[in-house]
């Protein structure tokens, strides 16, 4: 992880660490904070705890997003401190709705300049974001909203498993990981398990991200904790609830970073420090019926 971040995430880059509640790569965000990257533009539909941590740690100059909260558990206070008081640094906001962000990444992935959508009429969002524009359909004359392509420098995508070439399989909530990966110039895939190519080939429909667009594969078990990985471990909801208090004042926020980010060398040390806490999160089995790929 340390090598992948050092090589592909530079000061001033735009990055996307996707995952809609599911498969949020805390391991990558923590490594970026440890390497003290600065002036990042961070993109994501739902900047949650890891983006709150990146913002509070001073790594960020701009946020491109559609919903900034602690899902199911309250506000993000480091984000709010930055927006409301400029602490530790002011951040620029570029704000859409989910559909707008999905559309931006889809255009980016398709290498189109923009994406049309029937949205935003009557909303104040276009008033505060001049990049939400309109376009007239050349066939029907209908006026549609249009948002520009988003092509981040780096996408970091957590997957359940991949082979060593980065052919990555994801099941459960898929979010916009595929669009984010195809839209970005570089892709880092982080996985719970490295499997052989034959495992991938036995179930090709499940491959969301092909190795041909992947620059680095990182094996990082429990890399999403306190987020979850379907079939591997559940969300550590107690931590999400406690984040409200941790993030509420700067001192507690900083002591969290000192203990759990700067205070560990890598993810393995973080996991070791969690100890037994992880065993209660392990997923119960719920296997699917096998399908026949034969002909």
């Amino acid at each position: 992880m340390s090598d992948a971040v050092r090589r592909f995430v530079q000061d001033g880059d735009s990055i996307v660490i996707e995952g809609f509640t599911h498969l949020i790569c805390f391991a990558a965000a923590h490594e970026i904070i440890r390497q003290r990257r600065r002036e990042l533009t961070i993109c994501r539909l739902t900047p949650d705890l890891i983006y709150d941590q990146l913002i509070g740690a001073g790594c960020v100059s701009k946020l491109i997003f559609s919903w900034a909260g602690n899902p199911g558990a309250g506000p993000l206070y480091a984000f709010r401190r930055a927006v409301e008081q400029g602490i530790p640094t002011p951040i620029e906001l570029e704000e859409y709705s989910h559909f707008g962000m999905v559309a931006r990444l889809t255009a980016g992935a398709a290498k189109l300049p923009f994406y049309p959508l029937r949205d935003y009429m009557g909303s104040d969002l276009p008033r505060v974001n001049p990049l939400i524009k309109t376009v007239v359909c050349p066939f029907t004359g209908e006026e549609l909203a249009a948002v520009p392509a988003l092509n981040p420098h780096v996408a970091i995508i957590h997957a359940q498993r991949a082979d060593e070439n980065g052919n990555a399989q994801i099941w459960g909530l898929l979010g916009v990981q595929k669009e984010a990966a195809f839209a970005s110039k570089h892709v880092i895939v982080v996985v719970e398990e490295i499997v052989s190519e034959s495992v991938i080939r036995s179930d090709p429909n499940r491959t969301l991200i092909p190795g041909l667009i992947v620059d680095a594969v990182v094996h990082e078990p429990f890399g999403c904790h306190p987020s979850y990985a379907q079939g591997f471990y559940d969300r550590d909801n107690d931590f999400y609830v406690s984040w409200r208090e941790i993030s509420q004042n700067e001192q507690q926020f900083n002591s969290y970073l000192n203990e759990w980010v700067f205070g560990v060398r890598d993810r393995a040390e973080y996991i070791a420090r969690l100890g037994d806490a992880l065993s209660r999160l392990r997923a119960k089995p719920a296997f699917c019926e096998a399908v026949n790929y034969g002909y």
Binding site: T46, S66, F99, R118, G122, S123, D124, G172, Q230, A286
Partner: protein, 255 residues
């Protein structure tokens, strides 16, 4: 005036009032908290074929525990389909498949516009709220929108500080003029009563038992219209309460 209240919480009443408005076979865009409870309650009673769609991509979800976030893994296990967010917003929502969309707002105004973006000025907010998420497009596309949440003078201003998700914007014809496919807000359920919309404006149609018109007026930032057929909201049945308390929210997280 002291009125003896039956044994249920305001949130339980709100959940039941919302559940009763859902018809079997409808496709519902569900939110976490009270909307999720209302939809799962309806599925267990009069609407077993209600299709629950979550913006995280779970279609036809059948959660076996109370989902604590919109992306809870229990929405995936046993669902009919799990798709990408592109599919959810493009094919399901923009594609016109959603009958009812549930929304909440930190501010709701007389035209049913919702604000989840900022309190105060956008550039120098007093309080920075989470933002739209999928709410803006749900408000535009769902055939009907249900709004559910607490009510106070602050959360019910005459005009929201920021329209994140448009209701009727500023009058009865604006949605149509702007080309919005959905019909807009149909029902607002608060801690005091239920509202419907006439000529694009919120009208109080039922008061919850124990609540008064004075309370409603004290907690509304404009002179609220009251239906000439003002009713009393039906109270939860013992079976509804049993399902909510024992099956849906046994740790009383949302009720």
């Amino acid at each position: 005036m002291a009125i003896e209240l039956p044994n249920f919480t305001p949130n339980e009443l709100m959940v039941c009032a919302a559940a009763r408005q859902l018809s079997d076979g409808e496709v519902v865009f569900v939110g976490i908290g009270l909307p999720n409870l209302a939809c799962n309650l309806a599925r267990r009673l009069h609407a077993p074929k209600l299709v629950l769609v979550y913006e995280s991509g779970a279609i036809g979800a059948d959660p076996k525990r109370l989902p604590i976030s919109i992306g809870d893994p229990s929405l995936v296990t046993d669902s009919l389909s799990v798709c990408s967010m592109f599919d959810v917003f493009t094919y399901y929502l923009q594609g016109g498949l959603i009958d009812v969309g549930f929304l909440q707002g930190s501010q709701v105004d007389r035209f049913g516009n919702l604000n989840t973006t900022v309190v105060g000025d956008y550039r120098q907010p007093k309080v920075r709220l989470p933002g739209s998420g999928g709410a803006c497009e749900i408000a535009i596309h769902a055939k009907r929108v249900f709004v559910i949440g607490p009510q106070s003078k602050r959360s019910f201003p005459e005009r929201v500080d920021f329209i994140t998700s448009p209701g009727f914007v500023d009058g009865p014809n604006t949605r149509k003029e702007l080309g919005m496919p959905g019909a807009g807000p149909a029902l607002v359920i608060t801690s005091f009563g239920c509202y419907e919309f006439v000529d694009g404006e919120m009208v109080l149609t039922s008061l919850h038992p124990g609540c008064t018109l004075e309370q409603v007026r004290e907690n509304t930032g404009w002179e609220v219209r009251v239906s000439s057929n003002l009713a009393t909201t039906g109270i939860p049945s013992p079976e509804e309460l049993r399902i909510i308390r024992e099956e849906l929210d046994p740790t009383h997280l949302f009720i």
